[in-house]
């Protein structure tokens, strides 16, 4: 961090996306870590597995992200000791919101997306701002490439947009294969036009049988 005055944050770039389906959830993030016009590393994971059926992806300041991940993992461990079970995705969502708001006046500079399966084994995606305001949605994207991705998801995912009223059940009727194909294509497109997105995209698919991980190459320039 260039300690010009007391500016304590840095934007490391990158994009993350999540899509909720009827019985699956796809969550993806690119693996590039940049500062200004330089790339620090092409191989950095922005995704963290918080619980068996709950995964978090974030873009923004990776230093704060590491701290946040540690914090949540510790709280989850305590929960497991006290309740003798893993946290469900909606419970983790509330915990994340509280953790973020706790630092309301010196925020975690992270833009998070939580994805997983809820207690009925249906896909769920929760989207956050930097200080903990959250909402359950059918799909979401954050980061430097989000502006390029969200309009495409709005158009292609026949899931009710959070903008429509009355609020409907927030999952897309697309199949798992189609959703993964869409995520790959959308990342390849964002990479074409966003200088901070590229190198590789890490795609996690959460369904009844567990978590499957896939790594796809992206443009390196």
């Amino acid at each position: 961090m260039a300690l010009r005055g007391n500016w304590m944050y840095e934007n490391n770039g990158g994009t993350c996306v999540a899509i909720a389906g009827a019985d699956y959830c796809v969550i993806a993030a690119d693996t590039r870590l940049s500062v200004g016009y330089s790339i620090y590393t092409r191989d950095y994971s922005k995704i963290c597995k918080l619980a068996d059926k709950c995964v978090m992806a974030s873009s923004g300041f990776q230093g704060d992200l590491k701290a946040l991940q540690k914090n949540l993992a510790a709280k989850h461990l305590i929960y497991q000791h006290q309740h003798n079970k893993q946290m469900s995705c909606p419970a983790m969502a509330q915990l994340l919101s509280n953790t973020l708001y706790y630092k309301r006046f010196f925020p975690y500079y992270t833009f998070n997306i939580l994805g997983g399966l809820d207690s009925d084994e249906k896909g769920c995606v929760f989207t956050y701002d930097a200080v903990g305001s959250y909402e359950r949605v059918g799909y979401s994207a954050h980061g430097t490439g989000a502006g390029l991705i969200i309009p495409v998801l709005d158009n292609q995912l026949k899931s009710p947009s959070p903008l429509l009223l009355p609020a409907k059940d927030a999952v897309t009727p697309l199949s798992e294969m189609e959703a993964v194909d869409l995520v790959k294509d959308v990342f390849a497109s964002a990479t074409e036009r966003d200088i901070y997105t590229g190198d590789k995209v890490e795609i996690l698919v959460i369904n009844a049988s567990g978590i499957r991980q896939e790594l796809m190459e992206l443009r390196k320039d």
């Binding site: 158009n155 189609e178 390849a188 200088i195 796809m216």
Partner: protein, 256 residues
């Protein structure tokens, strides 16, 4: 405009418009609008942004000539505005110029000097020299005091041999055996400094898109449907345009 000022000077003698007729223009940068710009900035108006080419441009002198190289990405902040733009500009049949900085500035200044060189060729009946282009560029950029944000790598071969120069936005120049400019200049210079030697050989050709090192990695085979009904239409209004053409009047043909 000058006329009006004359009459006002006569009508209201003393104190009135003194800017006009008597003082001849001295050339150079006119700072008239700078105060107004500062005032607007203070008020909160933002200057419109320029498209900068976040760029790597390089040049190198070899045995009988000069090689110029450039990437093809033009950016507007963090977004790629053009994936395949041309940063090597034609100046003369034997002179080319790479441009980094504000895209409009590099285009305008190279076009302008290219035209001036052509006129000069007609006037002198000789092939253009690289130092001519250099002098025209530097004097233009200096007179604009760095506000024309063009950083150039100028190279060519003339009767006096191969030449390579860098031109900076404020108007200074360097003459070098190898040069790099732009935001990627440090990385490129690292390669040059480690590998350059005198007496390299090569041939003249224009290799547009010489390398396409990063092709798009994934294209969806499903394709995309943009069906009617995905976007809600709020209202429709159809106005039929009546034909407004009247019968053309008899027109005299232009004489040959």
């Amino acid at each position: 405009m000058g006329y009006m000022c004359w009459s006002s000077e006569i009508a209201y003698s003393g104190g009135m418009a003194r800017f006009a007729a008597d003082v001849p223009t001295r050339g150079g940068f006119s700072f008239d609008l700078c105060q107004r710009n500062e005032m607007l900035l203070k008020k909160g108006n933002q200057l419109p942004t320029f498209r900068k080419t976040g760029t790597t441009i390089v040049g190198l002198v070899f045995e009988d000539g000069v090689i110029l190289g450039a990437d093809t990405r033009a950016t507007e902040g963090p977004i790629v505005a053009d994936k395949n733009c041309e940063k090597i500009h034609y100046m003369a049949p034997n002179i080319y110029c790479c441009g980094a900085g504000t895209a409009a500035d590099t285009e305008a200044v190279t076009d302008m000097v290219s035209s001036q060189l052509q006129l000069h060729r007609y006037a002198t009946g000789r092939e253009s020299r690289v130092v001519t282009a250099l002098t025209l560029l530097k004097s233009h950029l200096f007179s604009y005091q760095g506000h024309v944000s063009a950083a150039l790598v100028l190279g060519g071969v003339d009767i006096t041999g191969p030449h390579l120069h860098t031109v900076y936005p404020h108007g200074s120049t360097d003459t070098l055996p190898f040069a790099t400019m732009g935001s990627g200049s440090l990385a490129a210079m690292a390669i040059f400094e480690s590998k350059f030697r005198e007496g390299l050989t090569g041939q003249t050709e224009y290799l547009r898109n010489h390398q396409l090192p990063n092709p798009r990695t994934y294209v969806s085979s499903r394709g995309y449907n943009f069906l009617k009904g995905h976007t809600e239409v709020l209202s429709t209004k159809i106005t039929p345009l009546k034909s407004k053409v009247e019968a053309a009047a008899e027109v005299d043909e232009m004489e040959e």
